[in-house]
Symmetry: C2
């Protein structure tokens, strides 16, 4: 087992967005410093970090200096180039581990991993060319969705195929990137489980939340999700199985579809997750502190829920609502300090407390 990192140590975080920002704040609560590595200038996390390196993931000198200045490395997003990970991992512990990244960076690998674990996923097939797409469409049927295997998020890199005639255009939309065809899953609601695993194997999961997306972006998470307690237990056990299979250390977001046949895994994210932001005001120990505890080799905290919460993302012009939300006594605001408001950009979120 890992020796717990002493307070005063420095945690390196790859990525300086809002997740890095809130991880940094959580780290400070436990007396840790953070060092952010981020290619973009003035990232949100820089405002609350001890140190910031502004450099590309191809800058080997910067990567080495960053790793040598920290005690452990974690990340706020999964698409870190392999070459950068090779350098970083040779110098400092990396949590969650490479295997978790390898699997979640590629939709095909991820779906295969989940299937092999005995978990349900949407039907899927590896797409390498027009012929494999035609064949997959015969098996999976339409409607279906063609997705790039890598680098997709918030609905990007995806093309719906409603009839087989739309297949050539969908394939062209992939721009030659390796792709996966996924069948549609008929589901009543989408839920997610935010689960954590400590270095000693201890697992803890927050109550599942119910997610609603708009335009491919998470809009709200409502906790508790409106599901029977049997499904709640299934969701938590399923998340634990994934964490244990990966010998995972840290917080993971697991998105699930609720279907008549039970829970179907949509996707996993090896990091703190937007659908876990409610924990900041619904629990004593939030997902960000839970992640920091895990990567620092500390015991996990108590993730039980003291309040019901509806988390809503503030996207683009939703920032105009901030003055009204600030006056609303049931709302806790979390703003990311981003310099520019753009359509589709996550600018903050609000946790509305629904008294028990």
């Amino acid at each position: 087992m890992t020796t717990p990192l002493p307070t005063g140590s420095t945690i390196g975080i790859l990525g300086g967005g809002q997740l890095g920002r809130m991880l940094s704040v959580a780290a400070s609560r436990l007396g840790f410093k953070t060092h952010i590595f981020e290619p973009g200038a003035n990232p949100p996390a820089a405002d609350v970090a001890h140190a910031v390196t502004t450099a590309a993931y191809e800058d080997e000198t910067a990567l080495r200096a960053f790793a040598q200045s920290v005690d452990v490395i974690t990340y706020e997003f999964e698409n870190i180039p392999t070459s950068a990970l090779d350098i970083l991992e040779s110098l400092r512990p990396l949590h969650p581990n490479r295997e978790a990244l390898r699997i979640s960076q590629d939709r095909l690998t991820e779906k295969t991993f989940l299937s092999d674990l005995g978990l349900k996923t949407a039907p899927f097939a590896d797409i390498t060319d027009a012929a494999s797409l035609d064949q997959a469409l015969q098996t999976i049927g339409t409607p279906a969705i063609l997705k790039t295997r890598r680098f997709g998020y918030d609905g990007k890199g995806q093309a719906r195929i409603m009839t087989p005639s739309e297949a050539p255009q969908a394939l062209a939309d992939m721009n030659g990137a390796p792709a996966i065809l996924e069948g549609f899953v008929t589901f009543s609601i989408e839920i997610s489980v935010i689960a954590a695993r400590a270095a000693d194997g201890q697992v803890s999961a927050y109550d599942p939340g119910e997610n609603v997306h708009k335009d491919g972006i998470l809009s709200t998470t409502t906790v508790p999700a409106n599901i029977p307690s049997r499904l709640q237990t299934d969701a938590v056990l399923l998340a634990g199985r994934i964490l244990n299979a990966l010998d995972y250390v840290g917080v993971m977001g697991v998105e699930l579809f609720v279907t008549p046949q039970g829970l179907v895994v949509n996707e996993i994210a090896p990091r703190v997750h937007n659908s876990g932001h409610w924990t900041q005001n619904g629990c004593t120990i939030c997902q960000f502190e839970q992640h920091i505890r895990a990567v620092a080799g500390w015991p996990l905290g108590d993730g039980s829920r003291h309040s019901d919460v509806i988390m809503e993302n503030l996207i683009g012009d939703d920032m105009d609502r901030v003055p009204a939300l600030a006056r609303d006594g049931s709302c806790a605001l979390h703003l990311y300090g981003k310099a520019e408001t753009k359509p589709g950009r996550k600018m903050g979120h609000v946790n509305r407390i629904v008294k028990p």
Copy 2:
């Protein structure tokens, strides 16, 4: 009324200790940047601040540059030299205001102000020499306590006088500093009220907590305090009277003795207060965010209590208990990241959640 400071603005904070650190974290939640002004090197607040100025309060150039880089100025401690305040206030708004600082910087001025408001205090007298001390002892009696009028905290700058024969030594202990003699108050418990006032006059107070000191330093705050609801109301109204009299903007800590004759004001602090740390885990909006909201011209948040809490300071070697506290599911840790553990030094605190 003040126009609310837009998210993305910078709040200047005088003092880089743990209070500045937790203010800085709260500011980040609302999308604000912070700039810390602190004479000491590597202060705890620097780990979570956008910018840090390391300079003395006598450095006029540094003070001017600091003020010009921020939108509003606040502070985490009250003993800021008048000359520094003159410069800062000429350039940017300062909250809480000079009057609050003037009164709380001097025990004699403070007690006189409270008396004039019609509030009860310990009997007190201005001490300028041996003769005035003798005369005051005849009026107030013994035991009594001689205190420097300024710069006292955590029991420093105080001398008890159990019999009149101890008066000369007590006076010598003041090292010629202006002093005040205070009579002892017979009280059952000490409580404190953390209250806030917004720029538009809105007042909000947290539930009073019950304080226990050890060696002159706050040890625990238990919320709710074990007092009848009548006294709870008295305490909140009394705090509101003080805030309104000062046209105060920000959070104030008001320490009160519970006596058979009602509430007696011990002292006021024009800032976030150690006895308000429980709000971080007992309320949706903590005292730090409440203070930031007030100084930024925002509406106050909801300060109602969702959990009962016992806050305990971690002082000096109490840090050895951190591994056990981290394993305790009822505890939320808040560590200040101070480099060196010293006897009597506040290293962190723990909020133990007592489920309702």
